[in-house]
Amino acid sequence: MNDGTGTDQGMTMNAADAAAIMAEADARARPVLRPDHRVTFLVWGLIWFLGDGLTWLAVRGQHPYHGPNPGGYAATVLLAVLVSLASVGQSRAETGVRGLSVLRRWSFSLSALAGIGGAFAIEGALVHAGASRPVVGVFEAVAPVLVIGLLYLARFPVEQDWAVAGLGLWLVIAAAVGAYAGPQNVWAVAALAVGPAFLLVAALEQRRQRA
């Protein structure tokens, strides 16, 4: 090894060699060391679009309104929980990386689980307090959207990611406006406003990574 002249184990390195090494090392390291949110956004988008869309198909025309099938609703929520845990698992796959980005992902996933769990507990309290099924229906459709939207917005000061912050703000607006659509159509609003928004952010992320 000759430290001062750009040689290493007898190999001379000119500028072109150095550029090639940098490109190769960066291409190898970046996919492993930088979290890739494309799949997470894509799966969240599909879950929200299909889950809320199918729920809307199930509840539209109900007179009186009695809400979605509890089994189907539980399956959708379970799927969302699994996606959230999978995104945390992704951090484990980043071999050897430790620090703030891993902590942030754990914090987001656990906060999302706590927030949605808390919303379900409040829904139970509303039922217990005598709230009508339509009122509970509106709440159960918009509460998870509001929780996830606020969590995405809260990430902005740290990550400075305008796309994710925009998604967060959009989710908060969709939850607030969607609540006025009533217990049946709120599911359609959630499916059409939330699912495609996640898919758009996944597409933006894809474009950003290609740039």
Partner: protein
């Protein structure tokens, strides 16, 4: 502009690879010794030697946590190291530009 202006601490294949790999980490993250070894394809002995050089220059920081079989050494670029790599990249770009026929 001459190749001599390239930072000699970075301008070796192994150390350049180490620096670029660590620069891919997000701010506030570090990488385990074994993770860095996997990504740079260096032998443990080689990696230790080069890390020592980079650490002496103040470009990387290593931290050992725990003891015995559970000990974990983590490595990260320092602010000075990130700046040095940016300067290296700028000089390299100028060298490549001046060497190109256009």
């Amino acid at each position: 502009m001459s190749p001599d202006e390239l930072d000699p601490v970075i301008h070796t294949p192994a150390r350049l690879r180490i620096m670029v790999t660590l620069a891919a980490l997000r701010d506030g993250d570090d990488l385990s010794f074994t993770g860095l070894q996997d990504l740079t394809a260096l032998t443990p002995g080689n990696l230790i030697t080069h890390l020592r050089k980079l650490e002496e220059a103040g470009y990387v920081a290593t931290q050992k946590n725990g003891g015995g079989v559970t000990a974990r050494t983590s490595v990260a670029l320092t602010g000075e190291g990130r700046k040095a790599l940016e300067n290296y990249t700028a000089v390299l770009r100028q060298l490549l530009d001046s060497a190109s026929p256009n």
